[in-house]
Structures are given as structure tokens and as C-alpha cells.
């Protein structure tokens, strides 16, 4: 299982911030061509990002690019420049399945031309329309995870984000939509970069809501989030016992896994694997 506990957003027009991205140990680095890049810099930024993907050391971080939305004139050009060099496309403001399909078709052309493997897409749900279609969007074969954006979504509903009472419902929808298709669910960012206690609580809450990670906007947030996503010793111990029982059953050719006299179903084994992956042990 690919860990995506942290995805660090870095503005795609700022070489000084980009050059050290590999040092921060984020599971994912997202070079952003969308909101953090002003319109007059879109051209320069996509070329800068193309070079960064090829020349900057990303360490263990997965290389993503957030392209501009399909409601802009930029998204195709973004893909043409960066797709051959990134691993995943982060697609903002997705509202329907066909939005993903449209982008996937253009990606396919570029992938054929460059003779490269198929890249994944992580749609960002940022509108009410996107939210009610999230279950449909998540089923697209290119989609590897589902993310959402709090600021735009609460604005679309017409409520202030900080006082919004509907966000846990939104989060649950995102998690259900993603998990129904066996995709990862990714929570939005915690924007107070000085409040580490608040960040820890936020990230741990995201984990127990079913998310696989959250967005981060500052390198200092990475370690705290990884700690929050680390299972407890008790969870790790139980997961180890379950995996051991599953191995034993397999070795003895038993179809049924049991532990301490209780039957263990497949989803429980899968959850144990996930816990050990989060614990970064096997």
C-alpha cells in the first residue's frame, strides 16, 4: 500500500521553495500550477515545474502536479508539459465523472506519444455538485484517491468555513465514495501552521474518520501528521497477531482464519495490513 499521509503543496512558480522539497519526507509533494500561481505566471510556472520534476531531488516523495481546472484555458497545456515527468495528476474542481474522463483522454494521447505508463488522477471535490457525484467520480479507473477542498466547498454552500457545521458530513461522503471503489480518501489542509497541537488532533481525527492522509502547506507540519497517523502500540500488536494468524492459516491450507477462538474475516486482515503499513513495519 502506498502511504499518502502527507501531501505537501508547493507553489509551482517559486524555485526557492521547490529546490528543497525532497528534504521534508512528505509522502507526496504537489507542485501547484493552480491557485498559488497568478495568471500572468501560468506560462513560466508550467515550464519551471517541468524542469523541477526532472532535476530536483524528491527523496521518497511521490511527484504530483496540481494542474489548472478544466474550466480554464490552461489544463491541456499543463498536461502536455508536465505529464511525462510526474506520477499523479491532481485535478481541481471536479464535478462529474466526465470531467475525469475528459482529462484522462487527453492524458492518454500524451502517454502514447511519450510511450509512458498510465498516470493516476486524484480529483479534488470542491463544489456541492462534485460532492453529490463523488461516488460516481471515484469509480473512474484512473482515480487512485479522492480529495476535497474545504474553502471552495463551504463558499459554494454559502457558509463561513470556520463555523461550518456540515463538514463532517462532507468528510463522510468523501470517505464512503472513495472506499466503495477501494481508493484512498484524502482530507483537506489544516491552515494554522503554528498550531501543532491543533494539527495533531485534526490529523488524528481525519485518520479515525477513515482518511488516508491530509494536505499540508508547510514542511514543519509533516512530522506531526505522520505521528498522528501512526497507529497505537495496541493497534500494532493486534494487527501483528491477525497477520500472523492469517499466515498460519495459509500455511496449513485452511480457508478460515481464527485467532483466540474467533473467526477473522478478510476485511479485518486487510485493516491489519493497513495498520502495519501506517506503522511502517511489516
Amino acid at each position: 500500500m502506498k502511504l499518502r499521509r502527507t501531501r505537501l503543496y508547493v507553489p509551482g512558480n517559486n524555485p526557492h521553495l521547490i529546490e528543497n522539497v525532497g528534504l521534508y519526507d512528505a509522502d507526496v509533494v504537489i507542485l501547484d500550477l493552480e491557485d498559488s500561481v497568478p495568471i500572468p505566471q501560468k506560462f513560466d510556472a508550467r515550464i519551471l515545474v517541468k524542469y523541477a520534476l526532472q532535476h530536483v531531488e524528491f527523496g521518497k516523495s511521490e511527484k504530483w502536479v496540481r494542474i489548472n481546472g478544466i474550466d480554464t484555458p490552461y489544463w491541456k497545456r499543463d498536461l502536455e508539459e508536465v505529464l511525462p515527468f510526474c506520477e499523479v495528476v491532481n485535478l481541481p474542481k471536479v464535478e462529474i465523472y466526465d470531467d475525469v474522463e475528459k482529462v484522462a483522454k487527453h492524458m492518454e494521447k500524451i502517454e502514447k506519444k511519450w510511450r509512458i505508463e498510465e498516470r493516476g488522477i486524484v480529483p479534488i471535490i470542491e463544489t456541492v455538485k462534485g460532492l453529490i457525484n463523488a461516488r460516481d467520480i471515484a469509480k473512474h479507473s484512473r482515480v487512485i484517491a479522492l480529495a476535497w477542498g474545504g474553502e471552495d466547498l463551504t463558499a459554494d454552500i454559502g457558509i463561513p468555513r470556520k463555523k461550518a457545521l456540515i463538514l463532517d458530513h462532507v468528510r463522510a461522503e468523501i470517505v464512503f465514495a472513495a472506499k466503495a471503489w477501494d481508493k484512498q480518501a484524502l482530507d483537506t489542509v489544516y491552515s494554522d501552521i503554528r498550531d501543532m497541537d491543533g494539527l495533531f488532533e485534526y490529523a488524528q481525527r481525519a485518520r479515525y474518520m477513515g482518511f488516508d492522509g491530509i494536505g499540508v502547506i508547510h514542511p514543519n507540519q509533516v512530522e506531526t501528521v505522520h505521528r498522528a497517523f501512526r497507529p497505537t502500540e495496541d493497534e500494532i500488536q493486534k494487527a501483528r497477531e491477525i497477520i500472523e494468524a492469517a499466515r498460519e492459516a495459509e500455511k496449513k491450507g485452511k480457508g478460515v482464519i481464527s485467532l483466540n477462538g474467533r473467526m477473522i474475516d478478510k476485511p479485518v486482515v486487510e485493516r491489519a495490513r493497513k495498520i502495519l503499513a501506517f506503522a511502517e513495519v511489516d
Binding site: 524555485p15 529546490e19 506560462f43 524542469y51 523541477a52 532535476h55
Partner: protein, 83 residues
């Protein structure tokens, strides 16, 4: 037509290209003593097919890949690419 790419922020470089009577490369860099020659070589190599242009480089400590990215952006704009 005068075009530019990049910024004068830390770690970046501003590249300006404009028509001129003959080819001219001007480099302003705070690390000129150490890297001026390397910057000039990269610019020369990338602009070998461009004649009658003035290329002005204002370097703020950009790495080689940043200089190349900003040069490519400026040259493509000079050739008329938009957006």
C-alpha cells in the same frame, strides 16, 4: 518584441529578451565572480540559434535548472507562444 520570464525573487532569475542589432548577452548576478561564466555558457548554448537579440539575465542565485527553465520560457514567448 520584448519578452521576459522568471522573477527577481531569491533563488530565481529574470530573463529578458529583446530585438537588437547584434547578439548581446548581459549578465547581472550577485554570484557573478563564481558563476558568471557558467551562466553565460548556458545562455550561449540555449540561444545558439537566435541572432540579433539582446538577452539580459538578472540572477538571484538561481540553480542551473531554474536558469534553463526561465530561458526556455522566455525563448518560447519570443517565438510567439502564448498562455
Amino acid at each position: 518584441m520584448r519578452v521576459q520570464a522568471g522573477t527577481e525573487e531569491k533563488g530565481d532569475v529574470l530573463v529578458v529578451i529583446e530585438p537588437a542589432k547584434k547578439k548581446e548577452i548581459v549578465i547581472k548576478s550577485k554570484v557573478q565572480v563564481m558563476y558568471g561564466e557558467a551562466i553565460k555558457n548556458t545562455v550561449k548554448e540555449m540561444t545558439k540559434n537566435l541572432k540579433k537579440v539582446k538577452v539580459e539575465i538578472s540572477d538571484k542565485g538561481a540553480l542551473e535548472w531554474v536558469l534553463r527553465a526561465r530561458m526556455e520560457a522566455a525563448m518560447r514567448k519570443y517565438r510567439g507562444e502564448k498562455e
